[in-house]
Amino acid sequence: MAISVDTPEVSGKLAAKAGYTFPILSDPNTETIRGYDLLHKGAGPDGSDISRPAEFLVDSSGVVRWENFTEDIRIRARADQMLAAARELR
């Protein structure tokens, strides 16, 4: 599940271009992003507010079981790290 401030139209373009099959959710008014305290003020195009990168693995009871907050926007959680975290849950 990917979440950003992008509109469904922009996210749809991204999914089509990159071939993503997982759902991409839109939070244009940053309500959820603020709820998770991830708002990065003025960091988007033309000084708009966006989400900072962060990844959470939430188990079926709604509890966070793994998290990743990067210190550098150029470094994100890798797919193998996230898959390893998901396997740990079993």
Partner: protein
Amino acid sequence: MPEIIERRGNWAPWLAFLLVLIAIGLNAAFFLRVPGQRVIPGLSLLLAFAALACGMLGIKRAFGQPQAYGGKISSSIFGILALLACGLLIFGWFQARSLPASARAPHVGEKAPDFILTDTEGRKVSLTQLLGHGDSSGASSTTTGGAAPKAVLLIFYRGYW
């Protein structure tokens, strides 16, 4: 009879320029998804500082001992270009790391706040639904393929621009 001075090549600004080009090239490697990306920012910063030192040495030589180091013009152009690029790289390092503290973000062992957001098909999707505790709206079954998942991975990202 003019004094004969042994002319030496001023390699420092050229090396500075080369190091800066490599450092910039390393940053471009982020878009290629090469393995070992975690070391790129540090390596790039290291190269930028090495280039900074070489660039300053080159300019110092070009202006301090122009007879010995074969003129000022090309050395200072490459030296100054290298220094400017170093400045940008070092500024970029701090920019990339200026992230909000996110002190109130949920952490391991804490409940992830519920949300209702719109997917690319315009459907409303809540975390509760995604986790398989959805109501009868049916949105969860279309999104997760029927069976209740063991977990949901939430990836917050900066957006597509």
